[in-house]
């Protein structure tokens, strides 16, 4: 039983640019998958096609047995509630408090009136508080988000995704704007969520060493095509060259050797 099936997906911007060129892969429930590749390889586009922030040009995506590209209106919203998303720039409403931002994760379950007025149930608020506790943000709960550090903001982003009670998390460069120690906290948190809650995690990464360390499976993308799909230890140097191009490849291999040593 697969949770996600991406089947010959093509995404074109305009008539010229091909962001995704016949991409196919499937993900099992509970997998931790890292998607690596250079900037502009189509990683972000791929994630956004899965929760339909971007429409595919052709091909099919099935999530929990439901075909995604045809979804409209309420069915599309229901689909999105099952998938949490985490962003490079956290995408919080900076002027609102931490708890308000976390509760935004419940808006997908609300009708129009509840949504406009921001009416959340006791249970939802308790859930939000509990999730903030597990992420170590209890003290920050009523602070405005613009008073937090980058690592704290990203944990708020994770809390907002978790309060959705998602089956899968899509993480778009979650640590690209963070310092190394905050980045480690975030990656450890994602791994912990994956292991203890059984939530499938799909994470876009720039950092090959991080991907190799955390992921159970690597998907390497270049120019919209999948170059590699398999276990981290089986990823060969030649394949890293292929994913990143020669010069960047050398630098990455350097890091990989040092990391291994």
């Amino acid at each position: 039983m697969t949770i996600l099936e991406v089947d010959s997906v093509i995404k074109r911007y305009g008539t010229e640019t091909v962001a995704l060129d016949n991409v196919s892969f499937s993900v099992q429930p509970g997998e931790f998958v890292a998607i690596i590749g250079p900037s502009g390889a189509g990683k972000s586009t791929l994630l956004r096609c899965i929760n339909r922030l971007i429409d595919v040009t052709s091909g099919d995506i099935r999530f929990a047995g439901v075909s995604v590209p045809q979804l409209r209106g309420a069915a599309l919203r229901r689909h999105r509630t099952q998938i949490g998303m985490i962003f490079q720039h956290y995408n919080l409403v900076n002027r609102l408090s931490v708890i308000e931002n976390v509760l935004h994760g419940r808006l997908g379950y609300k009708n129009t009136l509840q949504g406009i007025l921001g009416l959340y149930s006791e249970q939802e608020k308790r859930d939000a508080v509990r999730i903030l506790e597990t992420l170590g943000l209890t003290e920050q709960m009523y602070k405005r988000c613009d008073q937090l550090s980058g690592g704290q903001k990203q944990r708020v982003g994770i809390a907002r995704a978790l309060v959705q009670k998602p089956k899968m998390l899509l993480c778009d460069e979650p640590i690209a704007s963070l310092d190394p120690s905050s980045a480690k906290v975030i990656m450890d948190t994602l791994q912990d969520i994956n292991r203890t809650m059984g939530i499938t995690v799909l994470v876009n990464l720039h950092q090959v060493d991080v991907a190799l360390h955390y992921a159970e499976r690597i998907i390497g993308v270049n120019k919209g095509r999948i170059i590699y799909d398999g276990a981290p230890h089986a990823l060969s140097n030649a394949q890293i060259y292929q994913i990143y191009g020669s010069e960047a490849g050398e630098l990455i291999l350097d890091l990989k050797e040092r990391y291994a040593a």
Binding site: R78, R80, N94, R95, L107, G115
Partner: protein
Amino acid sequence: MQPEAFFRRRRLQSLLFLLIITALTYGGILMTQFDVTQGLMAIPRAFSWAIANFIPDERAWSRLPRILEKLQETVLMAVASSSIASVFGLGLALLGANTTRPHPWFSLPARALASVFRNIDVSVWALILLFSFGQSGFTGFFALFFVTLGFITRVMVETIDEVSTDSVEALRATGAGYTAIISQSVIPACLPQLISWVLYMIETNIRSATLVGILTGTGIGFLFDLYFKNFSYGSASLVVLLTVAVVLIIETVSNYVRRVIL
């Protein structure tokens, strides 16, 4: 190029520029037959005349209650037109902004409408509306309303795209509906900017209301016009002084509010 040659060219350029300016000025003086010495001599006389005539006299102070009443009318008009126009302007901006437009087709008409309202000057609006509403408060109200609507729409389109694009994407990803996204993320993110611009428009509109009043025969502008044409310069200057005072007070208040909310 040698450094000497470069700086010589620079000096020549400056000299040429100076010559052109002098020639233009002198030519202008000749063409308009402007007597420079007489013009300069007139300045002190103008001042002494102004000081003698524009100091509010006994009669001016006896008109104070009437002036204050009209001033209050004008301030309330400016506040009402600014705040009501801002509500509509925010609605139009939501249709026009790339982040929040319900469909790409809405964007251009909303922005075009705002542009038309904004680019017709408030005095022109007042003259056009005179035909429909005559010399009444409505004319002034709508003239200020239209200009404010155009202005608020324009600045809010930019603000919305600037401050809420990221969080709108995040809320769409959670499955939130359009109205929930607007009320939970766009409005909270933009509200301080909106309030700040509304305060700015209230200040601007009090100044404009004076001019509009002259044209439409209402409010403080009408009183100024009346006194001025009756040679009651003292009363006219009291009107001006009080208007300036009110504008300064409102500026102080809104600067304080801005500091608190931003």
